[in-house]
Structures are given as C-alpha cells and as structure tokens.
C-alpha cells in the first residue's frame, strides 16, 4: 500500500514584472482606463510534472540545487501551496516540519508554547498532555518552563521547539532541513529520532542541501533539476550522480584515441578507473570500505625505467601521492605491451567529499615526465555508516578521517 502517491504535480508561479502580486488603488484607476490591455505576465514553472510513489519505510531524500523545486514540492505536499496541475494522495497521518518552532510566540511561556506549537503540528490536547513530560525532558529546559521564551537563549529556544516536533507521531513526515540547528549533542538526538522513525515504518520525505545528511538518513533519493524529477532511486546512486552532474568524468575514463591520449612515444595512458575489490567501477565509494584506483598504460619503449605516480586530490589540493614502494629506486624497464596497475586505498582513510585522481609517469635516468593527466577521473567519497564518526552527527573537520582507537580512564 502506497502512503504517498504523487501524479504529475506542476506548480507555476506568475511573475508580473515589477507589478506587485497585490493590487493597489492606483491599479484600480489604471484598470478602468486601459481595461483589457494585455499585461505582460510571465509564468515560471517551479515544479513540472513530478510523479512518484512511496511506501511505509521509505526514507526519501529530496536533493537538487537552489531553485530546483525541492521546497516547492514539500510545500505542496504540506498543503501550503496549491498545485497548478496534478494531484497527490497522502495515506496516513501527516506532519510537516518546514521549520522548527512555527507559531512560537516570544511573549508566551515555554509551557504555553508547547501546547500551542503541539496544536499547530496537529496534536490533540490529550496527546500533548500525555507527552508533556517527555517533551520537557527531551528539551532540557525544565527550570525555565514558566518563563516567557523571549528570555531563553537561542539554543534553549531551538531545543524546546524541536522537542515538540520530535514527539508528533505521524505516519508520513515531511521535513525541510530543520536539522541544521542546534549543537552537536542535540543533532545526534534528532538524527537518532529520525533513524528510529524510519525503522518504525514511517514514510519520510527529507529535503536537504546536505548530501551527507541525505546519505546518512535516507534509503532512497529524488533528484530534482529545474523543477523536473530527473532521478529516483537508491540514495547512493542518486547522490553520486547529483555530485557528478557538472563534472566531466565519473569513475572511469577510457582514452579511445591512443594517439592523442596523455603520454609520449615511450608510454601512453589507456584507462583510469575507480573500482571495488569485486572489480566493479565506482562513481561513489564508501569511506568505510577499501577501493582501488586502476590505471592502464601502453608501453612502447622497453629500454626506459618507468615510474608511475598516482595522486588523490580533494577540493583544496593534493591529499596524498602514492608510488609502488616495492619497485626499485627509479622504476624498472618493462617489455612493450599494456600494463595495469592498481593501488588499493584502505578503508577509513578519506573524509567525505569529491576527489580527483591525477596520474603521472616519470623516468629518472635523465629526468623526464612522460605522461601527466591531472584530472583523470573524479569520484565521490561517501560516509554512510558509522565508521570514525560513530554516532556523532555534527560537523567533522579534516581531509582524512582515520578510524582511531580511543581510551578513556578516570584519573
């Protein structure tokens, strides 16, 4: 049984140039004088013909660039905006959280705001009353419950607002980047709540700019581009193609035209790819898993000792270079033919992001750079399992994310 069924949803906004959306007295007069004069009305499709369905347990991330229509989709499903065309059916109790603390009023006390906000989120009075203590405990603002929330710190305010939201019990949950608030400890609580909700069989639609968050929380993703749904599938695939859109290569590059491939008369580059142990080309790798960078060269000159070097770069520059530490000092000559080198990058080394592979081949008898391709392929490093992050959900700095041992003792 589908809980969400969306059919051909289209939303067009009307832009009337500099003319405001509302009418003023001066317009009435103009209307009288030039009635029937064609107004230059432009319309802009924020969403076009979007259809999808969802079942219980689907935790769907909605991704796309600014203006792709993510928020419009969520607002239509939340019934804040009316679709221009199309229809949808939501089967079950719906809660939508487009912001935390909707309807919070600074003059009201924490207690009063819990009741008002709970009602705004669709809870019944008896429901709020029975969950009241739990909400207060979750927020951790017990001592200030009867103070107006204008005296709260912004952190307390947010925690209280989220605590109410976390205690609604919908069957369909619509979420808009509300997780971007609060400190790390609190984010962890929230992520936990959402993961738990997904396991309980809720249908969740989660709009976010953060591919990381979508990867952690969702099992399916929708990719929107200029109002259209261009991809719907497993979260890893969709996020990978989102990150790659705009990048030239993805996971593999084959140099078809050998004459123009990078290299010289000694050696030329044939192919570069990122792959798993099973030999499958990867556009996205899981940082908790080992993966290989595979490079194929055609060697034409058997007399030169060639020395390949592979470098991984992140968006700030080179992350590390690697050479075959087992070969002799300056490489060795190889009989002409095609050779494949694979370097295995261990699990728990990279931190998430987009990486590129640079490939170069040198010889050192007389120093010579035979081949260099600084941007051979690119791939995405994803973090979907605990790994070095554990259950921490906040921002983690650094270009690498090794999984290290921690000890703790009381002194």
């Amino acid at each position: 049984m589908n809980t969400v069924s969306v059919q051909g949803l289209t939303k067009r906004f009307t832009l009337r140039g500099r003319k405001p959306e509302y009418r003023s007295i001066s317009d009435w007069f103009k209307l009288g004088r030039s009635a029937g004069a064609a107004q230059r009305v432009r319309s802009f499709a924020a969403l076009e013909d979007v259809s999808f369905e969802a079942r219980p347990g689907d935790v769907i991330g909605v991704i796309g660039r600014n203006g792709a229509g993510k928020s419009t989709l969520l607002k239509i499903l939340s019934r804040i905006l009316r679709p221009t065309e199309g229809s949808f059916v939501l089967n079950g109790r719906v809660s939508s959280l487009l912001e935390v603390g909707s309807g919070f009023h600074v003059e009201l006390t924490g207690r009063e705001n819990i009741y008002l906000n709970g009602a705004i989120l669709g809870m019944r009075r008896s429901e709020i009353r029975s969950k009241f203590d739990e909400i207060v405990a979750f927020s951790g603002v017990e001592t200030y419950l009867d103070e107006p929330v204008k005296h709260y710190s912004s952190g307390m305010y947010m925690r209280l607002a989220f605590a109410v939201a976390a205690h609604i019990e919908p069957e369909i949950l619509l979420l808009d980047e509300v997780l971007a608030v609060g400190d790390a400890e609190f984010q962890k609580k929230c992520f936990g709540k959402i993961e738990e909700a997904g396991r309980r069989g809720l249908t969740i639609l989660f709009v976010s700019h953060s591919v990381q968050a979508v990867n952690r929380l969702c099992n399916r993703a929708l990719l929107l581009e200029k109002g259209r749904l261009i991809q719907d599938g497993p979260v890893k695939e969709v996020t990978a193609s989102y990150l790659h859109s705009g990048l030239e290569s993805s996971g593999e590059r084959i140099y078809q035209d050998l004459e123009h491939a990078p290299g010289d008369d000694c050696v030329r580059l044939r192919r570069v790819r990122v792959c798993s142990r099973a030999g499958v080309t990867q556009t996205a790798v899981e940082i908790g898993e080992e993966f290989g960078v595979e490079v194929e060269f055609s060697i034409f000159d058997g007399s030169v000792a060639l020395f390949p070097l592979i470098t991984l770069n992140n968006e700030w520059g080179p992350l590390f270079s690697t050479v075959d530490a087992g070969t002799e000092l300056h490489g060795h000559p190889r009989t002409p033919g095609t050779y494949r080198f694979t370097v295995w990058v261990p699990a728990h080394l990279l931190s998430p992001g987009t990486l590129t592979v640079s490939v170069a081949v040198y010889s050192f008898r007389t120093y010579r750079e035979h081949l260099s391709d600084p941007d051979a392929v690119s791939f995405v490093a994803l973090e979907t399992q605990g790994g070095a992050r554990g259950h921490f959900a906040g921002y983690m700095a650094g270009s690498v994310r090794p999984l290290l041992d921690w000890t703790e003792e009381r002194c």
């Binding site: 959306e21 939340s78 804040i80 679709p83 089967n91 079950g92 909707s102 009602a119």
Partner: protein, 269 residues
Amino acid sequence: MIAVKSSRPPLLATLAECANYRTLFFFLTIRDLKLRFRQTAVGVLWALVQPLMPMLIFAAVFGRVLRPATGPVPYMLFVLSGLAPWAFFANAVVIAAGTFVSNYNLLNKVYFPRALLPAAAVSACIFDWLISTVFLLGLMLVQSFRPHAGWFLLPAVLLWGIVLAMSVGLGAAALIVIYRDLKHLFPFLVQLWMYATPVIYPLAMLPLRLQWAAGLNPMAGVVESYRWCLFGGLLNGQLVTLSLLSTAVMLIGAGVVFQHLESDLAERA
C-alpha cells in the same frame, strides 16, 4: 487520507476540516487572549475600560449638547449598552482583518484551516463583551432596574454578534491580502460604521418610516436587540428581520470571498 487536486476544495470540505482542528482553535484563542492582557498593570480590566472610556466621553459631550431622548434609560447607560456590543465588534473585526497578513510566517510554514486565524481573533474578543455585559447588568441593578425575561435572551444576541463579527473579520482578512490599501482603510471604515449604527444615538432620532432601513446595517439589529434584551421596550421587527437577512448576506459573501482565496493565501499574503 488527504487527497489534493489542483482545483479549489469545496467550501463545505474546508469547514468540515475546521472541526478536526478544535485544539488549535482553542489554543490560538487562548494565545490571543493572553497576549492582549499580558504584562499590563491592570490586566483584564482593560476589557472593561475600553468601552467605559468612550462612554464617559460621549456622555459628557454628546449627552449634554444634544440631549437625546432615551426614555427611561439614563443616557450614560444607553451609551454603554451600545458601546458594549460595538467595542466588541470593532475590536474583533479590526484584529481579525489583519491576521492573514500578520501571520504570514505561519501561513507559509504550516498547514491548518486558514479560517482559524480570524475566527480565533474574534473569539478572543468575546471575553470583553461578556465582561462589559456583566458590568452593565450590575450597573442596572444598582440603578434599581428589575431583572426581566429579556436578560435570558442575551446569549442569543451575543451569538448573533459573534457570527457577524466572524463573517466581517474573515471577509476583510481575505480581501486585505489582495487589496493592501484596505489594511489602512478598514479601521477608518469601521469607525464610520459606528456612526451609521444606533450606538450613541437612539433609533428614535430617525424618522419613523425610515427606521426599518437602518436594518440594512446588520450591526443595527445586534445593538437594538441587545438594548431590548437589557431594557425591554419596543423592538422594530422589520429592522431586526432585515438585519438578520443582511447578516446572512455578509456570512455568505465572506464565505465566497474567503473560499476563493483560501488555498492561495500563502502565495499572496
């Protein structure tokens, strides 16, 4: 189950949904009520002061200069019995009219039946009318009026006034979203409306043949019936009937205007 199509939902479905949001209606009313009196020195006493102040002014100025004939009822009481329903009505509709524009952030982030906002604003003002009615009855007892059967009809008049205020508030709130000039014009129109209603002058000041026509103004019916309940005496049946009819027209008109705009409020507010 929620099924949404691109066409506007029928009015009855919209109204039926309001019933599911009783809790929200209750808490919005409580919010509006609390916010009006919170952190003021005399608190709820303001509900009484609001009609009392103009009463003193009108009694001092109008009562001395024009000396309207109000029969056995002292002019002071007469004015208060007009201002009690009027202060409620004027306060309620002006506050309700601004609710869509001032709650834009809520409209744009959460779904709930939109009519709840002006309706809660109106119901938060009911309290004022109750207080001033009790005060009036007390004042009458002090002035040795005897309680009579008409007093028991007061709830019906209150209900009439509430329905009227909700209609006008709802219609105005929706129109103001589209015609922003109304936001500034509306309080002024309401003020003018008071002078078109027998609040500070008796209906008897109009020529007898024309008194029924005052019923075109639905508030005239509310005020006249309220007075009749309090003091007894004569009630112009034609006027009341006409006022009831014009209340129905207002109710339907507001419903139509509101329904036309409801589902696009977030876009236009």
